[in-house]
Symmetry: C3
Subunit: 310 residues, 3 copies
């Protein structure tokens, strides 16, 4: 079968989630996305050489909860796309991650693996909870690499005859050897929020670090967020150790009463049994306070698990 | 993996749908079936040689909306079947297209690709909107080709102990070289409608033409339809140009008041980048009037897209 | 694609289900699980050699109704698991059959194929209707074979902070050449029922027999069941003939009024067209009486079908 590659990942862990506000503690099997490295998935992908430097490519990726066997919704939640690529870059149609999400991931790539253990997860970043990581009905253009520089744009059709709520995102970046920096902006007209992120990553060899500054600009009611994340990963043979910290502050112009704060701390370790299979352990502690200084969230997660790629 | 073939198609287009009755115009990404060549799909199929000229075959085909990644319902909407084949022909069990649908497709095969751009689409043919293209719980028998002649029969069980609403369809046809003609009938007891179609296709080389006459016989309330479709396709190197026209008239014996009319016009062009990948552009204009001569539908669709097979 | 195997089964049959209590008779196409050998399925599985005798393995199995193309729910209902295996045995995470279900299947393996034709199906065994064959969020350990002896344990997390309703199951067994015997227990805290089964199978060559004794211990309201099953299969060339009988009795301590009885009788025949494809015919007759001796179920099923593996 040369036209299509069947691939996937199963990620399962066992751990504990403690809610210090509600004072509950639950031992769980996590399906990856909620308490492990990554959400379990399977998919179909392929490329076709059309000659003259032109290629067609497709990707269809289902996400599922490996602990119960339930499919996430929509069916190809991860990606459902068709691309034409050449010297001009890539044009991609369908559903896939936005370029804003790409840059956001870059800023957290050393922050305990961009996983459920990411320090900014679960409410620390307000923008982490409410931005849209993937657009449907999306037309994207990604530039080729131009002496290290690259750019990308997403435009998603609202498909609504009664209002104008198209969404878009933009990114520009620079990548060379072990250093990458990028800036992105996302505008979701449907909800009048705008997101901007500046992120960078540097790999020293003995360690790699990444960081980002995110800004969400909302309206008078839901306020603005300013968010910071920093992470480091230290590889040691088959092991890798990671740590991350994230901090955010919400300001509201409506009476100044919504000045909430959030911060998160995370630690993780992976051990590679092979290129395709790794064991891991992770820890995440997050705390969110509202303007009155009252904790609205105080949560601690830890888990040990295994991830297998196919 | 010799026992199973993984295959599929991603079809995405961008265009505009104008509703002249409601006076709305919507720019959309279409998932194929609603405004492109064909509905996106992926499936599993295989055949096994059982010896003595006997074969077993199966086909499981999911349909999905490539613009959002959503699966259509039921899961294997396209087909879910198991067949035994031999010199006697083929016996197929499960869910698949009816033989009436096969003949209907023949009559529109040159009519802008039997696609969302088909002239008869979207209400021009009343029978296009309400006949069942696939039966569940179906037992089918397809004859072998006998000097060009062939026949097929579908019988679908209602599985209802309280009423008798089994459905069936029949076809007979003749195919030789570049000419094919077929006649089919479908009886859906559950709704007391009967459908009959006579269709033909001829390939001149420089052009191919197809046409059909459809007849839906309903009851006094929903009336009868008489429908005509005609299409032509002209290949020119990697390009193919198509045009189609469809006309229908509904007569109701209940006071003679439901003499509605519909007509549709369609144009399309494809450009093959490879055997598996083609670009296309299409146009469809449909208009439906009720007995009083009032337009109940007046719609114009155009789109440009890409289709990739794997 | 060496990392993943795509496999499946399509099982379809046509037959009749007669409900002698309601006095209805329905001719149906069965999707396998409801009136054929086995439920239709497709799945992904693979193993990876990690060196040092260690292996990783995964299995993702969808179940579907082949007669209509509908997926069963959850999506990977059959199995969704990740395992690490070695000399120590196997640790499996995720959703899969319980070890109690394994032993229950052993006891009915010669009883018309552990299928819809199984004598204990459809209410004869009360425990057949209400035990959970697969646990979600499950951690399992299966021992290696130790001079014929083996053991297994399942532990499934309730993931509920407000109550303690973890579930577990245990088995021990002995297998040598053509003989196997096993004992299992399952405790589903969520509903306060406990299940115990002792099952054995012996293959004489000319025939093989299997049998089991099941015990469900409930509470005063839903009572206890004692259940017996026996089955025999006789292979004759490409044919195999099977018969089975099952009997159960429910006792309730609440006034002693719930002493229901059930019994079932089943016959079946398979004919192998190849290793992957077989034709079959099956018959099942079940009868359940309540404490007053009134028939609450009196059902007869027969069907002929075909099963194809890929």
């Amino acid at each position: 079968q040369s036209n299509v590659t069947l691939y996937g990942r199963v990620d399962l862990s066992v751990g504990n989630l403690k809610d210090k506000v509600k004072n509950t503690s639950t031992t769980q099997m996590f399906q990856g996305g909620e308490g492990g490295l990554t959400t379990s998935r399977w998919g179909l992908r392929g490329t076709e050489d059309l000659g003259g430097g032109l290629k067609a490519a497709f990707k269809l990726e289902n996400r599922f909860n490996a602990d119960t066997g339930a499919s996430q919704d929509p069916y190809f939640k991860g990606e459902s796309s068709l691309s034409l690529m050449g010297g001009f870059g890539e044009v991609k149609l369908g559903r896939s991650t936005t370029v804003y999400d790409d840059v956001r991931a870059l800023g957290q790539s050393r922050d305990v693996f961009d996983s459920a253990f990411t320090a900014s997860s679960n409410g620390v970043f307000k923008s982490g909870g409410d931005y849209t990581s993937r657009f449907d009905n999306k037309i994207s253009y990604y530039s080729p690499n131009m002496n290290g520089f690259y750019a990308g744009i997403d435009y998603a059709l609202d498909e609504d005859a009664t209002k104008s709520a198209d969404q878009y995102a933009l990114k520009v970046g620079y990548k060379v050897k072990d250093f990458e920096v990028a800036l992105a902006h996302q505008n979701e007209k449907g909800k009048q929020d705008k997101y901007t992120v500046l992120a960078a990553m540097y790999d020293f060899g003995a360690a790699s670090v990444s960081g980002s500054i995110n800004q969400r600009n909302g309206n008078a009611t839901n306020g603005d967020d300013t968010e910071y994340a920093f992470g480091v990963t230290v590889p040691m043979g088959a092991f890798a150790f990671s740590g991350g910290y994230a901090y955010s502050k919400t300001k509201s112009s409506a009476g100044g009463a919504k000045n909430g704060k959030g911060n998160g701390f995370a630690l993780g370790m992976t051990y590679s049994l092979s290129k395709r299979t790794r064991l891991y352990a992770g820890w995440r502690d997050v705390e969110v306070k509202n303007a009155a200084g009252k904790k609205t969230k105080d949560e601690r997660l830890y888990a040990v698990g295994v991830r297998h790629d196919f």
